[in-house]
């Protein structure tokens, strides 16, 4: 439990620093919250603190813990390499309970009480927007590690906002480019009726225009539905070639399971734009043949050295298990952030922003960089197909990487479109 030890150390040094701060800021209490004061009060020996709000409890709890474990690996590697001239990094993990309000409070505490230098984390579109809001108002750099289109847009973006995760536009676009020419033009959508589902559909439609797809059905379901059977007959009646299932978590598992039972796989290709590793492990045979997109799959280690290195480190601490896709975001987000710190030679927000804007990094999946206008990480998207249960060699062997959609700014929405 290295993170626990880290927290204890943090408390000790935090207390002493707080005393320093109090003395320094005596009589000027109002000014004490300005970032300028922090920088003065922070000695060279202080650790570099990264606040990490993720939903440790709730439906994505196990994925969030995975993100925290992976983020800790990035911190450990940074420290093992000597830190920033001897200044060590530490990760302060907090539970945002998958609620925007809770996340905002935790983020505020991390910034104002724990005096973190940076924020990284979240595992939901709406939660990351809330975290971003708080961080942006306080001029603190936030590295987001879950999918959202809106965070790139002028309404939410600030120069302190970075987005390490892929976004729905990018993911659906890459999957559409692969699927539409191969599997057919009659396309149906089953989508979760909230921002993430709508963003994915928008991404598919935009890519689909280039391929001349015909949309034959678009069925919205409430989030956290148990029974999808009532939504399926109308999709079947529309006779699509491709069904894009635009949802997340157990909604994805349940809808795929039930579509399979309705015999959909006999007449159409099932596509899940964000095809999740852990959901596939929990879902078993129902996923057979489903195609989707992913930021990462552990078998990339056969062709990508940085993936191999990351997997090996992770396996050592985790009974030989490989890391998950969303877990890897934790590693990449914190890793990129610390690479920026190293490059800047400082924890000063503006200097780190400048360093990240010109950083080329390869933490776990190949070359990545942040586009200057929206700080979106330009990165490869992996198109994966779920293996038939009969072909599976071991319990972690669940996907084939069938295509790599190379990272390219051209596939993103233009800066002008985002209002930037």
């Amino acid at each position: 439990m290295s993170s626990k030890n880290g927290q204890t150390d943090m408390n000790k040094s935090g207390a002493s620093r707080r005393t320093v701060l109090k003395t320094a800021a005596a009589g000027a209490a109002a000014a004490a919250v300005s970032p300028f004061m922090f920088n003065i009060a922070r000695g060279a020996g202080d650790s570099i603190k990264i606040g990490f709000p993720v939903p440790l409890t709730g439906p994505y709890g196990s994925e969030a813990k995975e993100q925290a474990r992976c983020a800790q690996i990035a911190v450990d590697e940074f420290n093992a390499a000597g830190g920033l001239g001897g200044r060590m990094a530490e990760l302060l993990v907090r539970d945002d309970k998958l609620k925007p309000g809770e996340a905002a409070i935790r983020t505020q505490e991390l910034i104002e009480k724990d005096k973190v230098n940076f924020i990284c984390g979240s595992l939901s579109a709406s939660v990351q927007l809330a975290v971003n809001e708080v961080a942006k108002a306080r001029g603190v750099l936030y590295m987001s590690i879950s999918q959202s289109d809106k965070i790139n847009e002028s309404s939410d973006f600030a120069k302190t906002t970075f987005h390490e995760a892929m976004n729905p536009h990018m993911t659906a676009g890459a999957v559409g480019r692969y699927v539409f020419p191969k599997k057919g033009k009659r396309v149906a959508f089953l989508l979760a009726d909230y921002a993430f589902g709508h963003e994915l559909v928008r991404g598919f439609k935009r890519e689909g225009e280039k391929h001349g797809i015909e949309i034959v059905a678009e069925v919205k379901h409430p989030i956290a539905s148990k029974d999808f059977s009532a939504f399926l007959p109308q999709i079947m009646a529309a006779k699509p070639d491709v069904l894009c299932i635009c949802n997340f978590g157990y909604d994805q598992l349940n809808s795929i399971k039930q579509a399979t039972a309705f015999g959909f796989k006999n007449s159409m290709q099932l596509v899940a734009p964000v095809l999740l590793y852990n959901q596939r492990l929990a879902g078993g045979a129902a996923y057979d043949g489903v195609i989707g997109g992913s930021n990462y799959y552990w078998e990339l280690e056969n062709s990508i050295p940085s993936a191999k290195a990351f997997n090996d480190t992770y396996r050592k601490g985790n009974e030989g298990r490989p890391p998950s896709d969303y877990g890897a975001y934790g590693y990449a987000g914190v890793g990129a952030l610390l690479a920026g710190v190293k490059k800047a030679g400082s924890t000063d927000t503006d200097k780190v922003i400048a360093a990240l804007e010109s950083l080329k990094y390869n933490k776990y999946k190949g070359e990545q960089y942040f586009r200057t206008c929206d700080h979106q990480s330009v990165q490869p998207v992996f198109i994966i197909e779920s293996k038939a249960q009969a072909e599976v060699k071991n319990k972690y062997d669940v996907f084939n990487v069938v295509h790599v959609d190379k990272g390219d700014e051209g596939v993103l929405r233009t800066c002008g479109e985002l209002g930037l």
């Binding site: 379901h221 148990k226 029974d227 059977s229 009532a230 109308q234 157990y250 045979a285």
Partner: protein, 296 residues
């Protein structure tokens, strides 16, 4: 989609889908209704028993590889837990208010959920229908999942058996008599507490079977019983607390209403269930088949 845009075949299919969805609700509501009708216990742990049923069944399946064995192990296992709960936790509360057992079972449901998390983890267990029931069957109006057909049949058999037991056996006679007038049954020298014990066991066993039968269609997770509890209560209220026929009719009705609303206005699917309940309560406050005065 407007009703006149929908082809007849899709209508038929949608109604059939609703019947399958309703079958699970019927099984849940039968147990809930039975327990309330006989014991006047509002069992808030019913959803948790549903979840326990799924876990017991999947556990048996993981050990033995047999889906069918689970159909025996689940009612026995969950029923036994139910017996213990009635005997040691609920029985001391008889004669207090209706809210005592309600609060107890409410708390109990969280205990069960946490136990499931501790024993099997927060992430769901993979579970599929047995091979013979996988795939779809042509039912004349289109292909329908074989497993859901099995589900409708299993519900019919179970409810039929329960009806025969209650209406045609001497045990059933005692149970029905106990529900009508506890005092007279006691005067006749029958140990009513044993009847109640049995009823609670049967009620929880059917909840367990409902959970196990749902398991191949959804995710087996510790929280799986929470949303169905609400639906089961709605069905019980619509059908009338304590009525077996009411549970069957209302369960299928709620299933069909939700399926058709999902087709025309998906965002209203959940609300449609409550609208139906409100409508029924306005016309018949005791529910479609409920006896008057049970709540007093």
């Amino acid at each position: 989609m407007y009703p006149w845009d929908i082809p007849a075949q899709l209508w038929a299919f949608q109604i059939f889908t609703g019947l399958a969805q309703g079958s699970v609700l019927v099984l849940l509501a039968v147990g809930l209704s039975l327990i309330f009708g006989m014991l006047t216990v509002v069992n808030f742990a019913h959803g948790a028993f549903y979840m326990v049923g799924a876990y017991v069944g999947v556990f048996v399946y993981m050990q033995t590889g047999s889906f069918w064995l689970g159909l025996i192990a689940v009612p026995v296992g969950v029923g036994t837990i139910g017996l213990a709960v009635e005997r040691f936790l609920i029985r001391p509360l008889y004669g207090r208010g209706i809210d005592y057992p309600l609060l107890l079972t409410f708390g109990l449901s969280f205990v069960f959920i946490d136990l499931a998390k501790m024993m099997f983890g927060k992430v769901g267990l993979p579970f599929d229908a047995p091979e013979i029931l996988q795939g779809a069957v042509n039912i004349g109006i289109g292909y329908f999942p074989a497993y859901r057909l099995f589900l409708i049949a299993a519900m019919a058999v179970l409810v039929g058996a329960l009806w025969l037991f209650l209406e045609k056996t001497s045990y059933g006679l005692v149970i029905r008599a106990g529900a009508r007038d506890t005092e007279i049954v006691k005067v006749l020298g029958i140990d009513i507490s044993r009847v109640w014990l049995m009823v609670f066991g049967i009620g929880t066993a059917t909840a367990g079977i409902a959970g196990y039968l749902s398991a191949p269609m959804e995710s087996v997770i510790p929280e799986m019983g929470i949303p169905v509890l609400v639906q089961a209560f709605v069905v019980t209220v619509v059908g009338g607390m304590g009525s077996l026929v009411g549970a069957v009719v209302a369960g299928l009705m709620v299933g069909v209403v939700m399926a058709i609303t999902s087709l025309m206005a998906p965002q209203l699917a959940d609300a449609s269930m409550f609208a139906l309940m409100a409508l029924v309560l306005l016309v018949r406050p005791q529910g479609l088949f409920g006896r008057k005065g049970l709540m007093e």
